[in-house]
Symmetry: C2
Subunit: 375 residues, 2 copies
């Protein structure tokens, strides 16, 4: 709790009653965002940081609740004297629209008919998230983010911010991301979606009102996801071909440690995550392609922003490997943006963006500290 | 038909009544092997080639039946004046034990109780396959294979032959294989198995006697498999981010061409393949580790063989990439075997071993022709 006090962890829920027009053409008449903040907003509101979460993330990025075993998902990055230093910065992390941790999403009540949204909740894009985050920003009286920061799908939101609201962002940190998904990326997402949607308990997305859950499909999706988050190398180091028992079973029970790990990860995940949110998040990933979607506006808006960029990739990440981050770097260089790029030597695969790594933390800290001069 | 005549395609079914002791300790009292042959066995029976199939393959490697749209799975490789030249060689390709195309397997009748085997069919290892293939060899009166050849799981069988029956193999061609699976390889197999076994129609493996089939699980397994068979690059070239319709649906129907392709592959596969066979084949892959399993016998048997080896890998194969094939090469070099290694520049991913590629065919042809001198 002492650490939480120093972090000044606060949790809020805010209702927005102004309709939000979505990329799909649909409109959310009302919606709720749950968010946490860390640190303190300074008087001129010039120290605000937006942290954007990834596929299975949420608003709880840092700090430890008394009922938790593990702290927030980026607790190693956010806090007093950590790279995102809450002694200087005021950090805002919302649960994304469509999420399942307090913001409006498929598992919440549709205010129009008082029923659980289920499959009625519209698909949300990265651009929609940025719009909703801008409304949260206004609600907080902030005119400009000192930083927008995210990894993976969070990095895509940071990138989108720089071209959607180019004058409202001072620094943009894009970690382990890509300007769009490849066919292979989409393929993995599609298998995950099919696993969920073929679960007989999916009920066309309306499982909650039927008091069931497509847990087996969601567990499969998560197991598959995990393979793509870890590197071949880190799996080898962690599990290799180690057996759970001393010899082979010659049946289909768990035999290798990696099987045990994946089954455990799948089962653990379903207790805290909503299958429709998983579907929605994978679609947001698939759809993300700002260069194509925004057309000429992409370049003209990129020309407007004065933001400094930091792009980070990890050597063993095969979901969004360095070559994909460099596509972003190339776009930024070609448009004369101020950009730093760092390729971090790391074994952790895509998940390296969540792990402790001194080089990574040093790069983050140096960029952030330099930008914070004068705060 | 004319081409089949030149190929001298013959199909056989042979029943073995001598018990086969399996790696698991179980015994198959009787079993059937279905196999095809191409070309003609010469008088001294010195021109026989064993072709071993991979996970979803079967005995129908070459030629075209009148009711088929596509010829056998390696028709580009096997035939008159093709690399495996049936004008000179007599090629034998069995459906592996545990398969679902005519040899004894989970979907055939257990002679002991006259019921469909289902989950009662034992798990078969690569070593067991080699034993059964040796019995087929004896049945054919062949004492020594001129070549044992296979890709992927078929390459593992070829490798196993060289250490299990080291004096019965004159040349060994191991394509797109590895000496054992990595944790990541096993992980993909495990997700595929879970997809099948979590399908409510799986019925603990006894779905046939219940007149149902775990088609959705098997389709998912196949979709996932396909991602690992293709390279990121080939998917990009073939599908990219192309949409099936002209614009996004904002729902979970098929949108991207890659989704359409995967769903089609999944659906097509289930009509001709048995889910229990899929489970069994993935286990054979996971278990394969002759260096560990055979202990000292591995090296002493490798020392016995006079076989010449050809090992081939493909640059874009990420299931068993060149670095994995080189592990085999290293073992062979360290044991003073005569070995050629070729890394073929190819975009096709793991499936490149089935595709047309002049470099690949030239390497195969040269090695085979040289070894055939005097036939």
């Amino acid at each position: 709790m002492n650490e939480n006090n120093m972090l000044n962890l606060q949790t809020y829920i805010v209702d927005f009653n102004k309709p939000l027009k979505l990329s799909s053409g649909k409109v959310l008449e009302k919606y709720t965002l749950k968010y946490e903040t860390y640190g303190t907003l300074n008087k001129d509101k010039s120290n605000a940081v937006l942290v954007c979460h990834a596929l299975s993330g949420n608003h709880h990025a840092a700090g430890l609740y008394s009922n938790e075993e593990k702290p927030g998902w980026w607790n190693n990055m956010i806090g007093p004297e950590k790279p995102i230093d809450t002694n200087k910065l005021f950090v805002v992390c919302p649960n994304n629209l469509g999420g399942c941790h307090g913001s409006s999403g498929p598992s919440t009540i549709n205010p129009e008919n008082k029923k659980i949204y289920g499959s009625d909740f519209p698909i949300i894009t990265v651009s929609d998230w940025v719009d909703s985050q801008k409304n949260l920003m206004k609600h907080l009286g902030i005119n400009r983010w000192k930083f927008v920061i995210g990894g993976s799908l969070g990095g895509m939101q940071a990138f989108q911010w720089s071209v959607q609201y180019p004058s409202m962002i001072e620094n943009c940190i894009i970690i382990a991301a890509a300007p769009k998904l490849t066919a292979q990326n989409i393929a993995f997402n599609e298998v995950a979606r099919q696993a969920i949607m073929k679960d007989p308990n999916w009920c066309d997305g309306n499982y909650l009102e039927n008091n069931v859950s497509p847990n087996q499909g969601l567990a499969l999706a998560r197991m598959l996801g995990h393979i793509t988050y870890l590197s071949d190398e880190s799996m080898k180091e962690k599990f290799g071909r180690d057996l759970k028992l001393s010899k082979l079973n010659y049946n289909y029970d768990v035999e290798f440690q990696i099987e045990s790990y994946l089954r455990y990860q799948g089962e653990k995940f379903v207790s805290g995550f909503d299958a429709n949110t998983y579907l929605l998040m994978t679609k947001s990933l698939d759809y993300f392609d700002p260069i194509k979607d925004m057309g000429d506006m992409f370049i003209s808006n990129l020309n407007i922003t004065n933001a400094k960029f930091l792009v980070i990739s990890f050597t063993s990440d095969w979901r969004f490997p360095p070559i994909r981050s460099k596509e972003i770097v190339k776009i930024l260089i070609n448009n004369n943006k101020r950009i730093s790029y760092s390729e971090i030597n790391a074994d952790g695969g895509h998940d390296a963006f969540l792990m402790n790594n001194q080089d990574y933390f040093d790069v983050m800290k140096e960029f952030i500290d330099e930008a914070c001069n004068g705060i």
